[in-house]
Symmetry: C2
Subunit: 185 residues, 2 copies
């Protein structure tokens, strides 16, 4: 679709920056990471960083959404319908993603992370709803996707707070009947 190939230098440099950022995230907290740290680790010039990202928060956002996208295995969900099985898979992807995040210290940026997760979920849900509704009722599907994304994300927050020792599967399956009837599909 997008027929314009992106320059391989751009792909390589973005990867170098993102890898460097993830490497540093394992060593110190986000608030202590500077642009200079990242560019030194990535072996690129500081000016080049700003060629690709607005600032360090822009980088955080893009790294997180990219990692989450890999977890979400978009290629799989892209062509699938929204049912119990796919909902469970998505929920597992989120809880796994948050577990991997808790190792890397991004304290103080929970809000940003939450927003990113929710936005990605919304896109995925919308695509899946489009698949099974044949491109009709666009606005209704979009709003449904919004509601589902907030709901599923909230469920993941609740699951982490919960100390009854349920697995993510057990947890989300309790709610699925209500979600499905509520979303009306």
């Amino acid at each position: 679709m997008t027929n314009t190939k992106t320059d391989p230098r751009i792909l390589r440099t973005r990867k170098l920056i993102m890898d460097a950022f993830m490497e540093l995230s394992g060593k110190k907290e986000f608030k202590d990471i500077t642009v200079k740290d990242i560019t030194a680790e990535a072996m690129i010039n500081r000016a080049t960083f700003y060629y690709h990202f607005e600032d360090i928060y822009d980088l955080l956002e893009k790294v997180l959404s990219e990692v989450l996208l890999v977890n979400l295995d978009c290629d799989y969900f892209q062509d699938n319908e929204l049912n119990e099985e796919s909902l469970v898979k998505i929920f597992l992807a989120i809880t796994n993603f948050q577990k991997s995040l808790s190792n890397r210290c991004h304290r103080g940026y929970e809000d940003t992370i939450a927003r990113i997760i929710r936005e990605q979920l919304e896109v995925v849900f919308y695509k899946m709803l489009l698949n099974q509704r044949n491109k009709e009722a666009d606005d209704a599907l979009r709003i449904t996707a919004v509601i589902l994304s907030w709901g599923i994300y909230g469920a993941s927050v609740e699951w982490r707070r919960d100390d009854k020792g349920m697995t993510p599967e057990e947890f989300i399956k309790l709610a699925i009947p209500f979600i499905i009837s509520g979303a009306n599909f």
Copy 2:
């Protein structure tokens, strides 16, 4: 001394190529590795490879000597004298290097590898001899370094062939009295 800083892009690209080559060396034999493989793994253009290396054999040579140099810990030996302790250390560095090589399959290039090891040894020995002889008798020291490099390399070959289960330390220590009297220092 060399006051001309090299462009960071050059350092980065050379590192990417060398890392890619070592990564591929773990997966297939040297004879099956193509320039295209390397440049794809390194995320650089094929033309850029030829900007840095004459061909794939040139790369092999430079990778090997760089890895060996790290093993040899040049900064340490550079300012030290040639005695039993340093000889043992050098011998250990060589045997370790060859052990790490045997994991990466470079069958059919033993001759190239041997030559590289010997050349590096010669440089190191020559520097150490210069340290303790105060820059006198240049040619004599150079020839002594040649003889020592061949001798020590040969000893490492013999040690690998030997099946009496001696450690490298035990092995080289047996010969040291003769080496020292022979080299006349």
